[in-house]
């Protein structure tokens, strides 16, 4: 059975197409002002990637912050639900999922069946998600892709006072002004957001295996800070940002 999942993320819209639970196509498109249009664009790209036509798709489910605006379906599931579903499918030993997206951070505890036991969110605040590292990379005048590798070259821990992306930006600017090496600041930035994510994991009581998904999983600096703060290694899948859409596509097959 061919199904599709649409993750209407705040920053990027992801579409995954499954055939019998196996991924056959995927696409990611930046969410424009008209999110429905962007979703249609992503859907078309995913179909092309899979080499199939829209008529061959038998079920579509949406997830993500903007899921009620998704085209092609009126079924949607929560981000937490879709994350857990997808992770358990590919990592049956996973019991904790940490998902850090552009605008929201989540920690989810699940059982062997992929059922959610408890979860905690960082929502509606840029300091708790990818928007934080993006803002800091701008303040440091570094490309976001370079922020992670740069921070790994630092061996110095400096604390960050600010718990808000706007105040942290001022703090970064004044650290730069005081000649603090940029790589130390970059490491402090990752330590800061990692601590806000680890607090979520502690709240739900994390248990191995721990799987990290969401776009921010690609930031090696963040991963390093996270593992140090958790005192535990995390599993990072290929295509970490597609898990929400994957879970939604799995849900479509369960119809």
């Amino acid at each position: 059975m061919i199904t599709a999942g649409i993750d209407m993320g705040a920053k990027n819209i992801k579409v995954v197409i499954l055939d019998g639970g196996r991924m056959i196509g995927k696409a990611l498109v930046r969410a424009g002002f008209n999110t429905q249009e962007s979703a249609e664009e992503a859907f078309a790209a995913a179909l092309a990637d899979a080499g199939i036509t829209k008529e061959e798709v038998e079920g579509v489910v949406a997830t993500g912050a903007g899921r009620t605006n998704a085209p092609y379906t009126d079924r949607d599931i929560t981000d937490v639900g879709s994350d857990a579903k997808a992770v358990i499918r590919l990592y049956p030993s996973a019991r904790t999922v940490i998902d850090v997206g552009a605008e929201e951070g989540r920690a989810i505890r699940c059982n062997a069946e992929g059922k959610v036991i408890d979860f905690a969110l960082n929502e509606k605040c840029a300091a708790g998600a990818g928007a934080f590292t993006e803002a800091m990379s701008r303040a440091l005048e570094v490309e976001i892709e370079d922020l992670g590798p740069m921070s790994l070259t630092s061996k110095t821990t400096i604390p960050m006072n600010a718990q808000c992306a706007v105040f942290a930006e001022s703090e970064v600017v004044s650290l730069v002004h005081n000649k603090t090496p940029k790589q130390d600041i970059a490491r402090a930035v990752h330590d800061a957001i990692a601590s806000r994510i680890v607090s979520l994991a502690r709240k739900v009581g994390f248990e191995p295996d721990i799987v990290l998904i969401g776009g921010v999983a690609r930031n090696v600096g963040f991963v390093d800070s996270l593992e140090r703060a958790l005192e535990h290694k995390v599993i990072i899948p290929e295509d970490p940002e597609f898990f929400g859409a994957y879970g939604a596509a799995l849900a479509a097959a369960e119809a």
Partner: protein
């Protein structure tokens, strides 16, 4: 490049007071994360003050503010019998005899500025937002200070002024130049509200409408903080935001209470309260000798 967030720095002193004839001369230095003020009080009366942007270094900002307040008065630092440091950088005022939190100082300053009937003070500073309840003597009876989140602070407003290329002093007036009051922006978070505002501008909203939507959201946010602590009349607003009618008038409408009209520059409330604390402490010190 025009810096839209930059407001004018200034100083003032009362020509009618002769510092050489003063008995109790004290100063309060309020070093905030965004602005610094030095205030001089002589025998219980406000004599001079300065208001400037805090530099990268708290001790230097404190010294500069103090020197500037004394400029043209003939006073020297030796004339100051007692100096109190307050604000975020209070422990970094090198010439202060004591540090007192800005909560207690704002209550005391508001009591001087607005009189003994003031019971609830809202202060929105550069990087914080405080609600302070006080008694008729200006002693704190309850407070909440939010310095974690930029929403509802001067910094948050500066981000918007910059985004819309509007000088910060004009934000209030312009936010009322709209055909009808738009709904508030849905995000409290300044970062997300900024993205939301960019989207609104792209969809054709005029600047003033976006300003109105943001001021409306800020006003509402402040009201919920006020309600957390409880509002008792009379109500007054201090800090830089008191100069932004875009937020003040909207929050007055929401709580159904008008703020007392300011009689002095609202940004000096903290430094003024600190100098007044100094008066009492200096009196004690002198009578103890």
């Amino acid at each position: 490049m025009t810096e839209y967030w930059r407001w004018k720095e200034y100083r003032w002193h009362d020509e009618n007071i002769d510092p050489r004839k003063g008995q109790l001369i004290t100063a309060g230095v309020d070093v905030g994360s965004v602005s610094s003020q030095a205030v001089i009080v002589i025998d219980g009366k406000l004599y001079a003050f300065s208001n400037m942007r805090t530099g990268s270094d708290s001790p230097t900002s404190a010294l500069k503010a103090m020197d500037w307040a004394m400029e043209g008065t003939g006073m020297t630092p030796d004339d100051l019998g007692f100096v109190i440091g307050t604000g975020y950088g209070r422990v970094n005022v090198p010439f202060a005899h004591k540090a007192i939190t800005e909560i207690a100082c704002h209550a005391r300053g508001a009591n001087y500025m607005y009189g003994p009937t003031v019971r609830t003070v809202l202060d929105m500073g550069g990087q914080d937002c405080k609600v302070i309840r006080c008694d008729e003597k200006g002693k704190v009876t309850a407070f909440a200070m939010n310095d974690k989140c930029a929403a509802g602070t001067g910094r948050g407003m500066e981000v918007f002024a910059d985004l819309l290329a509007v000088p910060i002093e004009d934000v209030g007036e312009l936010s009322f130049q709209v055909e009808e009051e738009p709904p508030p922006v849905s995000s409290t978070c300044v970062v997300f509200a900024k993205s939301e505002a960019s989207g609104l501008l792209r969809s054709g909203w005029p600047k003033n409408k976006v300003l109105a939507a943001y001021c409306s959201a800020m006003a509402h946010r402040v009201v919920t903080l006020l309600q957390q602590v409880g509002i008792e009349e009379k109500f007054a607003v201090t800090g830089g935001i008191a100069k932004n009618i875009g937020v003040v008038r909207r929050l007055e409408n929401e709580i159904g209470i008008k703020a007392l009209p300011p009689t002095l520059d609202t940004q000096i409330a903290g430094g003024l309260g600190a100098a007044l604390f100094g008066q009492r402490l200096l009196k004690k010190k002198l009578s103890g000798e």
